[in-house]
Symmetry: C2
Subunit: 242 residues, 2 copies
């Protein structure tokens, strides 16, 4: 394996999983492919005996799982956030099949934390959750019934990551420092504050401005330096108000 370290930088994030059995089965799917960082956002039931039973000998992955109160907290230090889906999404999101997405994840994970996000079993990702994601990875499936079980989707993604880590040469050093999810979030908050203060955004009539802004920032895959530039600009605008 050429990139053993890269797999350590990849976390699987389950957003509001309903069935504890799926949490355990996901832990097992991860461990079989050399992954270990499991994050849970508002799991309905956890810990739970069903999770332990289905984890089998991946109990260490399950014990190490981090639980968060919201998706943003699970993504704070990640430079790339990938959503998973077996259905076509709106075209505004960048989209790749899981095999190609796995290579992109690996390239980033060679140097920085990366998250792969799986939505709730029934409802998938909410619009707010989706707005944190920069890339949609589609698992090719039969159009008549493309609905993979949550842990089964995790197994396919983990398998492709394992192959990508084994087959890829070490990537060249990054030419720039990508912004972390937290830095992008701070930039978003800064925009919101500045736009409100200058009267461009009216919280009483929000319409779709903020979700669209968030999605735009997520999709842009900003560099840390670009975040600094934009926030410097917003600082100037803030001072103009005074």
């Amino acid at each position: 394996m050429n990139n053993p370290g890269a797999l350590k930088n990849i976390r699987f994030v389950l957003a509001r999983p309903s069935h504890p059995g799926n949490i355990g089965a996901t832990a097992r799917a991860m461990k079989t492919m050399g992954l270990s960082a499991l994050h849970l956002v508002m799991p309905r039931e956890f810990p739970h005996p069903d999770a332990e039973a289905r984890a089998s000998r991946a109990d260490d992955v399950l014990r190490g799982a981090q639980v968060h109160a919201n998706l943003g907290a699970a993504l704070r230090d990640c430079v790339l956030v990938v959503a998973t889906s077996s259905r076509r999404r709106e075209l505004r999101h960048r989209q790749l099949e899981v095999r190609a997405a796995a290579h992109e994840v690996l390239a980033h994970a060679a140097t920085h934390p990366v998250a792969v996000v799986f939505g709730n079993e029934t409802t998938g990702l909410t619009g707010e959750e989706a707005s944190h994601c920069q890339l949609w990875a589609e698992i090719p499936a039969d159009p008549q019934y493309p609905s993979l079980n949550l842990a089964a989707a995790a197994q396919v993604f983990a398998y492709e990551l394992h192959l990508a880590a084994r087959d890829l040469p070490p990537p060249p050093a990054a030419e720039f420092e990508p912004a972390s999810s937290e830095q992008v979030e701070q930039l978003y908050r800064h925009f919101e504050k500045t736009m409100t203060h200058c009267g461009f955004f009216d919280p009483a009539q929000p319409k779709r401005l903020l979700p669209r802004l968030r999605r735009l920032l997520a999709r842009a895959q900003l560099e840390a330096e670009e975040v600094n530039i934009l926030r410097g600009f917003l600082n100037v605008v803030d001072k103009m108000r005074r």
Copy 2:
């Protein structure tokens, strides 16, 4: 998809599955990838509510599952029988990674029935079961813990078959008629009978002769015409005895 018909010729065979939940989850994994022929050999519990729950909307695949008393019965008309494993096997078996195996399965399935066999959750395939298989498909996995859940392995294999069916051009027409599993079985029985009658094989001291013979015949991927030739030869030997 270039080979929609080929997926119809592929059956998944679960040998002695212990957990009915895994049967249901396998049905779901199959249906998400356009597969529908599920065969069960001596399932410990089936039908079972756990199978139905885990099948979700693949209940039609579950209802159509055929139950057999032994593995041979499930393979009767198949021209290629593939065993699955996440572990390296003895070198006497021909072995491919699942991605390459999926292409070989598709090439055969364009014209004939093919079986993919999954062993029991704990014990895998018995030696007798393994002797029916011509090709071992390995799912690459972490050597520290290569133990995929049964339905998770089925999901990965089904996913690779789906991609192979979508991406492959229609194969050229076969240049020969492959022997069915039943024809190979009849040849094996003929060998056994002839070897016994002529005194070469002593059933009181069987040693490893019959399992080795069976494995050899499976591995050879015989043509129907070759089976006829060998049985013609055995007929001649039989007459010499009289």
